[in-house]
Symmetry: C2
Subunit: 233 residues, 2 copies
């Protein structure tokens, strides 16, 4: 699923990236390229390439005579899929999952509203198909099958919105949903109400009722927020 560290610099990144995003090197920590090259047993050219990538993610800053400085979390490119993966895999997982779920709750209703206006016939068909798949896998501990259709459903919505930036959140949503199924509490069958809501969203999109699609998707989002205890009592 995720990009395996291709090339030596990729291997270095797969080790350094998670370490930095996990906070192993606190903001302001200074690393030296030569030392890192020795530690990872690679040439300086390779190490420099890795540092350049980390720099482009705003995880570190490289300055002459100083070294490679770790930047504060507030400056990281938190939308970089790679950064998201690293954080989801490490100690930052809970906070990352919450941030992403809130982000979803903001984006997906609007995306669904747009999808109702712009979805093609083929996309409507795929959407209905996904909803049916969710129903079919909603009982009897078929969590994996349910997940596949759930992910596909949200991907179609985001793509059908016609907004390229929404569409690019498909992978992120996929990882959040997968995370919920595999790591978080999801032992029993999914909430029947949620399943019904998905079916109804598919209906609304098919009928071109943007307002209803948005409202229903917002209900789904509320459910996702409640699962993580994100709500104001």
């Amino acid at each position: 699923m995720s990009t395996p560290g291709r090339g030596l610099h990729g291997h270095v990144l797969e080790s350094l990236g998670p370490a930095i995003t996990a906070g192993e090197y606190p903001p302001g920590s200074v690393l030296r390229t030569d030392e890192l090259a020795q530690r990872f047993d690679v040439s300086r050219s390779v190490m420099r390439e890795a540092v350049r990538v980390l720099e482009s993610m705003h995880l570190v800053e490289s300055r002459r005579r100083v070294g490679v400085t770790v930047r504060p979390k507030a400056e990281w490119n938190v939308y970089d899929p790679q950064v998201i993966r690293w954080r989801l895999a490490g100690a930052d997982r809970p906070q990352q999952l919450r941030s992403l779920t809130v982000l979803r709750s903001a984006i997906e209703p609007v995306a669904a509203g747009l999808a109702a206006k712009f979805a093609t016939a083929e996309q409507c068909a795929r959407l209905t198909e996904c909803a049916l798949g969710m129903v079919a896998n909603s009982r009897g501990h078929q969590l994996e099958g349910y997940l596949v259709h759930d992910v596909a459903f949200h991907r179609v919505i985001l793509e059908a919105s016609g907004n390229e930036m929404f569409a690019r959140l498909g992978d992120v949503v996929a990882e959040v949903l997968a995370g919920r199924t595999h790591h978080e509490v999801m032992f029993e069958d999914p909430d029947p109400a949620a399943v019904t809501l998905h079916v109804q969203v598919a209906e609304a999109v098919r009928e071109g009722d943007g307002e209803r699609a948005e409202r229903l998707t917002r209900e789904i989002a509320v459910g996702a927020l409640q699962e993580l205890d994100i709500l104001a009592p």
Copy 2:
């Protein structure tokens, strides 16, 4: 404001990045590192670093024996601030502006709702200050002064939401607003209704009325969408 190309590889990026995002090299185009190094008159090491950064942005893919292949737009990391800047500076500007405005319209209302719950006293004060600044600069062709406070206002909202991913959209919103003032149609004074809405959002946040803050911000968003003729008649 934007990061000037620091170092040789940065200079190369500032030339190659905009070219690729502008579609000068159609998806599937193949570049060769050595040739690029010659063209930009830099060493291969420097060129390789630049390619690595482009690769981390998913703008290109580097494969042995093949070369550096330009990836289709659908795979780009469109949330990378650098990519956004490049696209805003080039031929893709209109589409990028529309995508970002739709994104804003989804995010900011939710952010305002959260801000009403989590904003500190200091943030509330700053917000009110910004709103007053907007009012003070709303008449008499003081567009620059208005812009400064408008940008600050939205930054505070996004930060006060308490969501790190929302907060990181501050720079993006700043560029969208600056773009509207400087490049798009914004000759006359800003819409008085919009100014009032901002003042009211500040009120709602101060009073902790999340629902009202969200609704009012959604109205602001509708205005922004209409400016770009994004609406379903």
